[in-house]
Symmetry: C2
Subunit: 442 residues, 2 copies
């Protein structure tokens, strides 16, 4: 466990130094952007072409609006006088500027939940230094940094505004970004929450499908911060730990696929292959019992149901590194294979991340799209969810339902599934973290 | 392709010899058993505890009954004068008696779609001979043979009777069993169909989730028989190639899980871990792009939705053989891991086969259940679907919907997804087979 502790200390130190170097490069975490006025009416209500999904959403919406109306008469406290209900947006993050690349990589290689290394505190900085130039070049190629913070803040603030209307009992809601490897790191979110006097907090993973390497690692870090008192005392925690088949999420992905399909001639559109691409996992993690492969598969199945199985598809896996075995087929191999089989039209669909980041903007757009075109395939990438109003509405629905069911005692602080460690798990922090969150962070 | 041809010839020859040795050990394929009268009213209509799934089934049922009534007045031709609509039940099969074990194993190791071996026609018989004593012992331990033929015939005849009522336009329906490795082999089904003068046939895989190693291999063999004229001339073929998330199938599995959960004390029932166990696949097949892992995952997700995520669960993989890498975690390792984590209650759920066979009756019941008990776990296995009326109703619904939509021109002879070969596929028979079925077997 030593590397984990080191990882955290390192992260904190660097991030404090960074705060002194230049505070205002990004808007403060969790603050509403004054240039982005939010109103529930901005978000679409219903798509008559997708009655199943949207009628489900419509029902939730009707219920919420009805609740909103009745509660409006009960709660007259001005929301500004109450401490906010914190919605903590967990994600891996990415360097917002190229010079932040090294710190991002160091934090990443220091995370033994993600990449367990022998002598991690010595080897991780070495690997990070060695890989920095190449990754800096990739961030330069996509415009000088990762847009993941910008999108996460946009999604968070708009979601929080919707939540105030959908679930006024817990208003005001405020989103906090807690990245695992880039600023704002978890301890920065913690300080902000403490300053705001937060008493009720929801850890909301922004990875739709659960993996111990992603959501698990973020929850472990949040647990360390929470237990240490960095977030404040006596906070009531609950966790939204997976939502890969939520109908609103599925709808948002499906709409982006449909938009990409529109770019092909109608006469051959149905022959287009949909290639869903998710970040791969080492087979050592899969074989430990990590639920990620099942959950990504379930998302793809739900999207294909929503699309009425209009096109043939495969789920493939990207971004593997190193010599060990990873889950496959690899995205790149699949593209070569489809070309060999004579396929001429392809839509690449990022399915396990919700915003653009280096894996979509560099790996998919600059590497695989180029490769496919060189092989004679006409290829389009389905857009990431980014500022999709359907997606932001889904985030708000997921959170409103969670808050409502939690208040009503219908669900506990974590899901039933989150309580079960992987059969092959030997990480003691996972056990402590799951117990701590299952007790509501006490 | 040579070994494939050899495999078929071998299978045919042995199976002819076997016919001469002892004809009446099993009822004739496709014949209705006189001891099993079938009536639609035997099958349950609606479970008030599961409104979503069963209301969907209920609607189909109401529609079908209404159709049945209206068509009854239109079609007065006695069904016996029409050639039957053939429903060909594809499965791997198993030796009905211990002495059939060797032939079963030889057919299995000869199948290069399942296990590609160098010099297959020489090596396969050698491996089969060497493994026969151990596998014979396993079949002896489960009662002297595999019950898969008995259950497949039961399911097929009861399904056909339901179909006559659900979709009278294509009545009479007759089920034919076509096993890949045991009697009745595909060529026996073909001969029977030819004798019956079949003109319309549905290849209905009894593997709910598609793999090239299972359904793919069976369809390749059926294509060889069909193309050769062994089934007859001018037959119109269509294919039901996957149905792993059909609500009736999901309901049947869920009911068996609920029955197993009832065996635990109510006070601790919700702590019971559900361990879904599917036959594993070599990673070489997964990495080629085989859709099986995604489809099994989707089944598990659908079942857990139906169970309202009442229990924690994992999907694990059984029956791997040999030194190469297979999809994991392995069922046996997962049981050991759960014991180490202090889990005390377990339900084992077979999720990729629909009848009992050696992998449930020997591997799950005699090996893993014993292992779990020795590790201090109270374990029950969810029953296989076997004679489940909900499952047989689902088979009939799947087929009736297929026939209805095919007749209405809403679907083609195969699914959209079946048309796409795996990105890494190099098996020319797969390409020919898919084209042949896509043209309705012409």
């Amino acid at each position: 466990m030593e590397p984990l502790v080191n990882g955290r200390k390192n992260g904190s130190k660097e991030e404090e130094e960074e705060e002194e170097r230049g505070k205002s490069r990004q808007p403060r975490v969790g603050e509403r952007r004054t240039d982005a006025p939010v109103s529930v009416s901005k978000f679409p209500r219903r798509d008559p072409n997708s009655p199943n999904v949207m009628s489900a959403l419509g029902k939730t919406n009707a219920l919420s609006r009805s609740l909103a109306r009745s509660y409006a008469t009960l709660h007259n406290t001005p929301s500004s006088s109450k401490s906010p209900t914190a919605i903590v947006m967990l994600n891996m993050g990415g360097p917002s500027t190229v010079p932040e690349t090294h710190d991002f990589l160091k934090n990443l290689f220091m995370d033994s939940d993600l990449i367990p290394l022998p002598f991690q505190s010595i080897i991780a900085p070495f690997i990070a230094r060695r890989r920095t130039p190449q990754i800096e070049q990739q961030y330069t190629a996509i415009g000088g940094g990762s847009p993941i913070l910008r999108y996460t803040e946009y999604q968070g603030t708009h979601m929080a505004a919707l939540l105030d209307e959908l679930h006024p009992e817990t208003a005001p809601h405020k989103s906090y970004v807690a990245f695992r490897y880039a600023k704002p790191l978890t301890d920065e979110a913690a300080r902000q929450m403490k300053a705001d006097g937060v008493k009720r907090a929801v850890a909301f993973t922004q990875y739709p499908q659960y993996s111990c390497s992603t959501t698990g690692s973020s929850l472990n870090e949040l647990y360390r911060q929470g237990r240490s008192g960095a977030v404040g005392e006596g906070i009531e925690w609950s966790v939204i730990d997976r939502w890969g088949t939520h109908p609103g999420f599925v709808e948002a992905v499906s709409q982006n696929i449909e938009a990409a399909l529109q770019k092909f001639p109608e006469s051959t559109r149905s022959e287009t292959v949909l290639l869903f691409s998710a970040h791969s996992l080492p087979m050592s993690v899969v074989n430990r019992g990590d639920p990620y492969v099942l959950e990504v598969s379930s998302t793809v199945n739900a999207v294909m149901n929503r699309l009425k199985n209009s096109n043939p598809f495969r789920l493939v896996w990207q971004s593997q590194v190193g010599p060990s075995a990873w889950m496959g087929p690899q995205t790149s191999d699949a593209i070569k294979g489809l070309a060999r089989l004579g396929k001429k039209q392809l839509v690449l669909v990022p399915i396990a991340f919700t915003s653009d980041h280096i894996e979509t903007l560099y790996e998919l757009d600059l590497e695989y799209v180029k490769e496919a075109k060189e092989l004679g395939i006409d290829v389009h990438r389905a857009e990431s969810l980014n500022e999709s109003p359907v997606f932001i509405r889904a985030l708000a629905d997921i959170t409103a339902n969670h808050l409502r069911e939690y208040s009503a005692g219908k669900i506990g602080p974590t899901s039933v599934q989150m309580g079960l460690r992987c059969p092959g798990c030997t990480n003691a922090v996972c056990a402590q973290q799951k117990s701590w969150f299952a007790r509501g962070g006490r």
